[in-house]
């Protein structure tokens, strides 16, 4: 049985159909890339799975259970976490505190109102371990708003991983990164355990090839093509979507 299944998802904004009947299913541990041109509905699709948007119609199933339209914190409780392209960190807090928040959420410690901060130094250790994986160790005490752009994106993913999700939705994890940063990010993502399911919206086909087992191409709010990365790249319909003619996406 698929871990995550969406069935005939429609989402309309006014008269505009951002999604026009998306159906797809993802197996546990799969690495699925979602690609498509701007406006194909990728971010809207992520927001519906993550709980940020309610679909106009259709169903979202998690382990066969209906979870359509649940708010983000309830989707999170079921192990679904998404990252955002913008505005995804806590700018005024330092880097370690950013990660601590996600750990506090997972350990359900947020309601501890009279517990002294000093007694929770193991949370600091846990946060530092995650920062180490994202190569942010030396930046733990820096205010998040003072990070470079690439580091922002790394921190954003550190926050998401700190919640130990079962399904992680990554919205363009390498957008705006330097080639070196992209390489480090891809290596980190490739090392993630297969107990974690990854859905990635990505433009960079090198990243898609390095990480994804399978690719779904969204076009005008529907799934146009689905298959392995090389199948999808060879498909003439995909070339047509990207360039209006014969060339394959880069």
């Amino acid at each position: 049985m698929s871990q995550l299944a969406v069935e005939e998802i429609w989402k309309s904004f006014g008269g505009f159909h951002a999604l026009g009947g998306v159906t797809l299913s993802v197996a546990s541990g799969e690495r699925r890339a979602i690609i498509g041109v701007n406006g194909a509905g990728k971010s809207t699709f992520f927001s519906i799975i993550g709980g940020q948007l309610r679909p106009t119609s259709g169903r979202v199933l998690l382990d066969g259970e209906q979870v359509t339209g649940l708010p983000p914190h309830k989707m999170w409780a079921r192990g679904v976490t998404r990252t955002f392209q913008r505005n995804a960190i806590f700018p005024g807090l330092d880097v370690r505190q950013n990660v601590r928040l996600a750990i506090l959420a997972r350990r359900r410690m947020g309601s501890r109102i009279l517990a002294g901060a000093g007694r929770h130094s193991h949370i600091d250790d846990e946060a530092d371990a995650i920062l180490g994986r994202l190569e942010l160790c030396g930046r733990a005490n820096v205010a998040a708003c003072d990070l470079a752009y690439g580091e922002h994106r790394q921190l954003e993913i550190a926050i998401a991983l700190a919640g130990e999700p079962r399904i992680l939705l990554l919205d363009e994890p390498t957008a705006g990164m330097s080639p070196a940063e992209t390489q480090a990010m891809v290596a980190m993502l490739a090392q993630l355990p297969r107990t974690l399911t990854l859905l990635i919206v990505e433009h960079d086909m090198d990243v898609v090839f390095a990480i994804a087992d399978s690719v779904s191409v969204l076009h005008q709010g529907r799934v146009l093509v689905e298959g392995s990365p090389s199948e999808v790249q060879a498909d003439p319909r995909v070339a047509e979507v990207y360039f209006g003619q014969v060339e394959a996406p880069q």
Partner: protein
């Protein structure tokens, strides 16, 4: 909100020094407050210090919402006044026992805060400000119009409280020490709260509520919780104020009272607990001092506020922090 957290994001070594300095100054002030009456503190000054301590509790309680959670309320005086009236009515009709009237004042205000908060925290930013303003004015109308209960515009006279049956709260000196104990307890409690994991969650909500939802926090639940907790501390300040003035007037619920305590928080420095205490001290002292020279005292107070907010958006405490850092760098 970057300004309000400037202190929190300096290097750890600086933070440790600042913390040690803070504790030393705090301890010195506390010792000063404890021994001052033994060295002949004039009654007039003693009353002023009592007022400052009460309003410092009130201002800190507002800062839990404003500086720590990013919720700008313009109706916080409603809970101060509700605490005053509920405790005052309990003292008048039920019992003079301070412990009982305090509990009644706290419970009534916090139940009211659950209702008002439940409706208000659905909104944020400007809309939150307007709805808390509206609810605050409703409470003011009740205090002003319900003559049969509140005494209307004449206010409510409150009999002197007893503490476990003893008439120990009659003199100014007794009131001074009682309020001092109340102030210290409130400060330590709120300090504990903002330093706890719960306090970290509040800061996260202030910085990025959408992201907090995405990593699994029920943002509305936390906002409601801090709204009710803030109302509780405000009510406690109101109870102290009513019990020790033996009187409460409907003006204490008016929105201008909410605005005045908001100014105290901003003048002192939002996002800290010491800031609102400094703000309460400065605003109340200046009010007293200026009003003895000119009836246009509020004009001068307003001008001062404008100047201060222009040069330091993080208030007097932020200004002092930067001055201190410059001094240290100069020495090193």
């Amino acid at each position: 909100m970057a300004e309000t957290t400037a202190i929190a994001t300096t290097a750890p070594a600086d933070r440790a020094v600042a913390r040690r300095l803070g504790w030393s100054v705090g301890a010195a002030v506390l010792v000063g407050l404890v021994v001052a009456p033994q060295f002949g503190l004039p009654p007039y000054i003693m009353s002023l210090v009592i007022e400052v301590m009460i309003f410092a509790i009130f201002a800190m309680s507002l800062d839990l919402l404003l500086g720590y959670t990013g919720l700008v309320s313009l109706g916080h005086a409603a809970f101060f006044a509700t605490g005053s009236y509920a405790a005052g009515l309990a003292a008048k009709f039920l019992t003079h026992e301070l412990v009982v009237t305090t509990v009644i004042g706290l419970v009534v205000s916090m139940v009211l805060a659950v209702a008002i908060g439940w409706l208000s925290i659905r909104l944020s930013g400007f809309y939150f400000l307007m709805i808390t303003f509206a609810f605050g004015q409703m409470i003011y109308s009740v205090a002003y119009r319900w003559n049969w209960l509140t005494g209307g515009s004449d206010g409510l006279n409150i009999p002197a409280a007893t503490f476990f049956g003893a008439h120990v709260l009659g003199s100014r000196l007794q009131i001074y020490y009682t309020v001092l104990v109340g102030f210290v307890i409130c400060f330590m409690l709120m300090r504990r709260i903002v330093g706890s994991p719960f306090g970290e969650v509040l800061a996260g909500i202030r910085e990025n509520p959408r992201r907090m939802r995405a990593i699994g926090f029920d943002v509305r639940g936390y906002r409601l919780a801090v709204f009710v907790i803030g109302a509780g501390f405000a009510a406690f300040a109101g109870i102290l104020n009513a019990q020790f003035n033996f009187f409460v007037a409907p003006d204490s619920a008016h929105w201008t009272e909410s605005a005045s305590v908001l100014v105290m928080v901003l003048v002192g420095g939002a996002g800290t607990l010491v800031g609102p205490v400094i703000g309460a001290g400065v605003v109340i002292m200046l009010q007293n001092w200026l009003s003895s020279y000119t009836q246009y005292w509020s004009l001068f107070l307003g001008l001062l506020f404008i100047v201060l907010i222009t040069i330091a958006r993080d208030g007097i405490l932020g200004l002092a922090g930067r001055g201190w850092q410059r001094l240290r760098r100069g020495v090193a």
